[in-house]
């Protein structure tokens, strides 16, 4: 089995059903940002708390891509998922062949292989249509 490596450090913790995306909440203005930064991107305040973002959200918009990208062969789906915190996450969408995508549908966070890189398997977040309710 190949070793799994996160596609980018600091974007998420864990890679199972307890894993989550890591954002930050500004204690000064309340803005939630993803990915985290050193300072709040809204008010530039420095008092940020690390938060785990919700694992469920709604499909804000989506597209099926019919051209290859650096790491993905067509057709593949990507979308913006709106989390209850108000943050919109750009993500690969999986499971769209089985469940036709619709704006507003419930989506759930999963951690899966994104692509292979020589001896390693690059792992990251994806969203799939949710089978047991959304946020």
């Amino acid at each position: 089995m190949k070793t799994g490596v996160p596609f980018r450090e600091g974007l998420f913790q864990g890679s199972d059903e307890k894993g989550s995306l890591l954002g930050a909440r500004c204690r000064q203005c309340g803005q939630i940002i993803f990915p985290r930064r050193e300072a709040c991107l809204n008010c530039l305040g420095n008092d940020l708390e690390l938060i785990q973002l919700s694992r469920k959200g709604k499909l804000y918009s989506y597209t099926i891509v019919h051209m290859p990208s650096e790491h993905f062969e067509p057709p593949y789906a990507v979308g913006w998922i709106e989390l209850p915190e108000g943050v919109k996450i750009f993500s690969q969408i999986r499971g769209w062949q089985e469940r036709p995508l619709e704006t507003g549908m419930d989506m759930a966070l999963h951690f899966e292989k994104l692509w292979d890189e020589e001896e390693k398997e690059v792992v990251g977040y994806v969203f799939r249509p949710s089978t047991n309710g959304g946020a």
Partner: protein
Amino acid sequence: MRDVAIIGVGSTVMGKFPESLPYELGAEAARAAIQDAGISPGDLQFAYCANLYGGMVIGQAVMGEIGITDIELTNIENACTGGATAVRKAWWDIASGLYDIGIAVGVESITTSPMAGKLITPAKGDITGELGMNMVARFALSQRRYMDMFNISLEQIAQVSVKNHRNGCMNPYSQYRKELTIEEIVNSRPICEPITLLQCCPSTDGAAAAILVPLDLAGKYTSQPVTIAASVLKSGDYAFRWEDMTFSDMTSKCANSAYEMAGLGPEDVDVCELHDAFAMNELQHYVELGFCKRGEEVRLLEEGVTDLGGKIPVNTSGGLLSKGHPVSASGVAQIAELVWQLRGQAGERQVAGAKVALAHVIGGEVTGLESGAVAVHILKR
């Protein structure tokens, strides 16, 4: 601050030119602008050259072809807004009193670049880019949301492409000179659903150039100077401040600043070149540029208000959809088209009596922002 005028413009024909190197295209456009202005290359005191994929110091290669060396020359990269950025910077160098005559050039050769045949993507390592984002997908996401939230059909969106391709038939500089039907557009192959091939601008090679002087010196060169009444350039804002991820808040803000600077309003605009990289964009930009209220944009198109002969003809050149989108050249090519319109030199596609013209470009994809940059210029005669 001095008023600034454009005294010469030039453009290559837009298209796919695998045999032409980027600097050759740039030199052709610069030569045409110099000839149009009736100046000698040696008169130029400074130059800006916008380019995305041509490589190191391409402006020096362009100017070196036509005998211009040893001047202040700055290369600019600002994605689709690069050409407008070059015009903006040249405007300021004249307005501020620093120089009395200079040139803004935009040049792109996609065919000879590593991007040939590929979708344009964010810079290497960009998070969304790694996860499969490209420029078409970015606007497909906006379009899906726009269609679903505002009840807009693909057929309605396709009418933009029909109009602009019809205009392109009348422009000798246009990459495509062929009319299209709604059915052809909707049924062309999907690129990023719901965007099909013929809702997209093509990839294009080409260049354009403009020559700027202070308005009070323009009479020395031409009897038909075109004044730059407003020049505004803004970088993108965070997507968390983007109201609904459909309409472009960046464009609204930039247009408002431009109208304020010009002391003019959207009701004064006689002809407009706007950023129709995808057909849907044009409908939304009508609203952001103040031509109509939200919900009226499809009617504006369907009633022919933005067609030749209407109140505000939009993209008389054929727009990016038909004339083509040589990324960094587009902002300058728009200015060339509008200068021809204001001088009454636009041939079959002439807007009768046009006095005020508006140019708008937006582009560049980076994680976390609505878009990279936006620019609006208002020209008047």
